[in-house]
């Protein structure tokens, strides 16, 4: 099966500022791919090139077998876009919006079904201007889904959500995976990438600094920490072979008949790796 998205050495500058400095990745069909990075890392620029909004300065890009820069209405019929900002007509109701957008696509999903899916059934006849921020975002998602796209672009889908709304949105995005949709998601929340994405690319200053499964990212580079207290002093061991180190340590303690106080074994969280990746080179 060909990849849903191929990006090869993509470059994009705005005047003097190089927003994206040669990044490459592929997204398989049916995969949920996360672009993770702090603000200004080039996530939105990358996504907007893939959506066909921006022209690139260099490199090659293919989305569903077409170059977004040249692709037309047929191609747009197969993609779904949820932009960072929720722009809508304030005077239309939720259902009218979804029905309006359904009319733009050749094989739309059922309007009521999509409204239910994003959890806006109770608000179906409310005008958009009366919705809360979280509800607007859910309507955004509904508009991205209504065309029954093969690939869905989600640019920071949960920014500004309260924790309950985030959980709900995560549930929805997981259900997209079950539908077999390819999803490209940008976020600056690590737990979001960890929870949702099959693979994650970490962006910093327009470059990919790490790429892989969330658990692979967590498993490499940073040493496992073993901490305990001995004679009132805290001892910290950092090791790439935690099993061996721990065996030696506990074996030694057993032989000497002592108890290792406050013994802890910790693998770094994705958060720590992320912070290290996105900060270390700044100095």
């Amino acid at each position: 099966m060909p990849a849903a998205v191929t990006v090869d050495d993509l470059r994009k500058s705005y005047g003097q500022i190089e927003a994206v400095r040669g990044i490459s990745f592929e997204i398989e069909q049916g995969e949920v791919f996360g672009l993770l990075g702090p603000n200004g890392a080039g996530k939105t620029t990358t996504v907007e090139v893939l959506e066909g909004y921006r022209t690139r300065d260099g490199g090659a890009v293919s989305v569903l077998g077409a170059d977004p820069q040249q692709a037309g209405a047929d191609w747009r019929d197969r993609i779904g876009i949820v932009l960072q900002s929720s722009a809508m007509y304030p005077n239309l109701t939720v259902c009218e919006h979804v029905a309006l957008f359904a009319g733009y696509f050749s094989h739309p999903r059922d309007v009521d079904e999509v409204v239910d899916l994003v959890g806006l059934a109770e608000k179906r006849d409310a005008r958009v201007k009366s919705l809360s921020g979280g509800q607007m975002r859910r309507l955004d998602l509904a508009l991205g889904l209504i065309g029954d796209p093969e690939i869905l672009f989600l640019d920071e889908p949960t920014t500004g959500f309260d924790p309950a709304a985030r959980r709900a949105a995560w549930g929805m995005i997981r259900s997209l995976r079950e539908l077999g949709k390819t999803v490209l998601l940008t976020t600056h929340y690590l737990d979001e990438a960890e929870q949702l994405a099959d693979r994650v690319a970490v962006l910093r200053e327009g470059r990919i600094v790490a790429l892989g499964k969330p658990e692979e990212l967590t498993g490499r580079q940073v040493a496992t920490e073993i901490r305990y207290r001995e004679n009132g002093r805290e001892v910290l061991l950092e090791t790439y072979e935690p099993t061996k180190a721990l065996h030696e340590l506990t074996g030694d303690a057993l032989a000497r008949g002592i108890e290792l106080e406050s013994l802890q074994v910790r693998r770094p969280t994705l958060e720590e790796i992320y912070l290290e990746l996105t900060e270390s080179a700044d100095e």
Binding site: E51, G52, Y53, A73, D74, R76, D77, I79, I81, L83, S85, A87, M88, Y89, N91, L92, E96, L100, F101, G103, Y104, F105, S106, L143, G147
Partner: protein, 248 residues
């Protein structure tokens, strides 16, 4: 068709806009008509004030619905990001612009009928005889002013500024062109300015058709000037059209 129905719904639901662009010309017509509707205007060969005003208001109507209304809506949608979102759908740009245009023309058509009926009922202005000529003239005006309106949006930077800029353009335009009263008493330099403006020619043409049994094919100069302005608007509209808000 789908998009057109939506445009209509959107227009009538935004009460403020509908009021200012649709009802305003009707109100002014009734208001000014009661002030000098029964006077005779000497400079216009003793024409009745209300008859004179009818043509002016048709001109004002086209400027407010097709030009001002369209321009304001377009800028607000662009700056709020609605246009950007639409661009991400398979809806072709021409279908969207066409829907907006036809919607504006539809609103204007209702306005014309109301103005004609009011003129007949309140001030006894007879219905025009050359209906076909009138329809053609109004259609030409609506298309040309819509093109100018879209052209104007390319120089407006923000949603906040849209109604300010649009009003600053079209109110003096209507004033100079003689929408509200006869411009014959204007000082010379205002007349010179008015002489190049499209609305002046539009009102003159409509007046000839409505009041003097004229036909559109006898109005070559007016048609040419209006079409030229329309083409200029179209040029800017196509060359500098933006889908996305500034700085976003």
């Amino acid at each position: 068709m789908h998009q057109l129905r939506n445009e209509q719904r959107l227009y009538w639901r935004s009460h403020e806009l509908a009021f200012f662009t649709f009802l305003f010309p009707v109100l002014i017509f009734v208001l000014l008509g009661s002030v000098y509707g029964n006077d005779r205007i000497k400079s216009e060969h003793g024409l009745k004030g209300s008859s004179y005003l009818l043509a002016g208001m048709l001109g004002y109507g086209v400027a407010s619905t097709a030009f001002a209304g369209l321009a304001i809506i377009l800028v607000i949608r662009r700056e709020s990001g609605v246009m950007k979102r639409l661009r991400g759908t398979p809806l072709p740009a021409w279908a969207y612009v066409a829907a907006m245009l036809i919607s504006a023309i539809f609103v204007f058509a209702i306005e014309v009928v109301i103005l004609l009926v009011l003129a007949k009922a309140l001030f006894d202005v007879p219905f025009p005889t050359h209906v076909f000529s009138l329809v053609l003239a109004l259609l030409l005006g609506a298309l040309a002013f819509a093109a100018m309106g879209i052209g104007l949006t390319t120089v407006i930077r923000s949603a906040e500024g849209s109604s300010a800029v649009v009003n600053a353009v079209y109110l003096p335009l209507a004033f100079l062109a003689g929408s509200f009263w006869s411009p014959h008493a204007y000082p010379r330099f205002l007349e010179v300015i008015a002489d190049v403006l499209p609305l002046t020619y539009f009102i003159r043409m409509v007046r000839d058709i409505v009041l003097r049994d004229g036909e559109i094919w006898n109005e070559g100069t007016a048609v040419a000037v209006i079409a030229a302005w329309g083409a200029l608007g179209l040029y800017f509209a196509i060359r500098r059209f933006r889908w996305e808000p500034r700085d976003a």
